[in-house]
Amino acid sequence: MGPVELLHMSVYSQSFSPCGRFLAAGNGYGEIGLFSLSAALSPDSSPLSYRPVLTFTAHAGPVFCLSSSDLHLFSCGNGEVSAWSWSHLLKKNVKPVWTKRPDYKPGLQIPEINALMLRSRENVLVLGGGDNNLHLLDLETGAFTGVLAGHQDYIHCVCEREREGQILSGSEDGTVRIWDDRKSQSAHCIEVHKYEMCARPQLGRWISCLATDNDWMLCGGGPSLALWHLRSLSPTSVFPVNGCTRHAAFYQDMVLAVGDSPLVSHCMLGGDVKAQIPTSSPSLNCFQINDRSSEHRVLTVGGSSDHIDVFTNLSYRAFSLSF
């Protein structure tokens, strides 16, 4: 990796291992880098422990999404989804367990997969991508069980409402659609840009981030980041975050959001921004909180640089891992 490639690298996705001691990050060159958190967080860590333990090329295109189950790491790139076994990866064996491609309509371009979500209860992978549809892949049988069609433009993000068994998807056409397990048509369709409270017509109408907490939903992108109450499908508070939010999540009693500024915003549910923490990348794409391990509970943030910032205490950046 020459310095020019490192300069132009973007980290698009991250995922923690099931034991919580490793972080897998996918970048724009189709590579996945595995970092050892226990080495980086130990008191006697050297600059060498901030480099990846293993880097391998996973796909021909950028790795836009990563997700982990108890045994496997799922990655998407170039229109296909691959599964890697964590135990194999830790032994530096980089052969995927399987690679599958959903049925796309025949055409000149291969649609990319922008969002990947694992529904652990039903053991189903939900893929959303450039062909405006959501594809459901059953992990037990290994076959694609269904297609949820309805969006008019490509899908940016997918998330799940566990208690009610619903899938939410946000797309470039400005709508958030709520799909129920039992039907193949969307149960609700929220056109976010039509609500004056959060619409920002000067930026656009696309929805690039979605997060749910069963009764509440966060969505943002072109329209401002807003908190919605799902039962009444109405926006309740708008967060005054500048720029477009690319990833947001609920954490304890706060909302964390990253977007096209170098700041991680901590917001309260009432709509005020409590803190904005600077990071080392000029714009941020994704973040993850390591819930699977209690001693390495960190927040890692990646964006348009080859560094991944690690926050041991949410209020300041501790150190950076680099590809």
Partner: protein, 202 residues
């Protein structure tokens, strides 16, 4: 007991009183004085003074020994004191750890409560934007009444229209019948007229 070698004894004695300027010297002087006192044939006063001097030196040695014993006791008691302080501090540390864990749980609970409160506030904000239920009910009732009133009027008007229609129908049918009867009469008159000139012409 027999394993203590001469080396160790010498080392210990050198450590305690290496330069010979203390108790060791006093004991040696006493010993030498005693031997000299036993062997020299001197006058009883000299012997007595020598004897007194030896007693004094002995007392000094005993005093020094007593002092060391007391220092040793003091050290033992200081050690005990430190032991108690040490265990006390250890207990404090464990109780502080427990308090920290409890406080962390409290914080989690408080954060959850805060989150619930904020969700409640957010929903309340949305609900406030909608009009009051009583007002809407009252409006609904008023509209209902108006609707009833208007339908009542409509029924009345309909009934009147039906009645007028029937009355006009009766009128028109009577007129028709009268017209028919008149035509019939005219026709029968004509027939009669035609019949009578015919018979009168013969």
């Amino acid at each position: 007991m027999g394993a203590v070698t001469d080396d160790e004894v010498i080392r210990k004695r050198l450590l305690i009183d290496g330069d010979g300027a203390g108790d060791d010297r006093r004991i040696n002087v006493l010993l030498k004085g005693f031997v000299k006192w036993c062997n020299t044939p001197s006058s009883p006063e000299e012997g007595f003074t020598h004897y007194q001097r030896m007693l004094g030196t002995l007392a000094q040695c005993e005093f020094s020994m007593g002092k060391t014993l007391m220092v040793y006791d003091m050290n033992l008691r200081e050690m005990e004191n430190y032991e108690t302080i040490y265990t006390n501090i250890e207990q404090n540390i464990t109780s502080a750890h427990e308090k920290i864990a409890e406080c962390k749980k409290e914080i989690q609970r408080a954060k959850r409560i805060r989150k619930n409160r904020q969700e409640y506030d957010a929903l309340a904000k949305v609900i406030q934007q909608h009009p009051d239920r009583h007002e809407t009910l009252k409006q609904l009732e008023a509209l209902d009444k108006e609707l009833q009133h208007l339908s009542h009027i409509k029924e009345n008007v309909d009934a009147k229209l039906e009645l007028r229609k029937k009355q006009f129908h009766v009128l028109l049918s009577t007129i028709q019948e009268l017209q028919q009867t008149l035509e019939d009469d005219e026709k029968s008159d004509d027939d009669n007229d035609q019949g009578s000139p015919g018979t009168s012409g013969e």
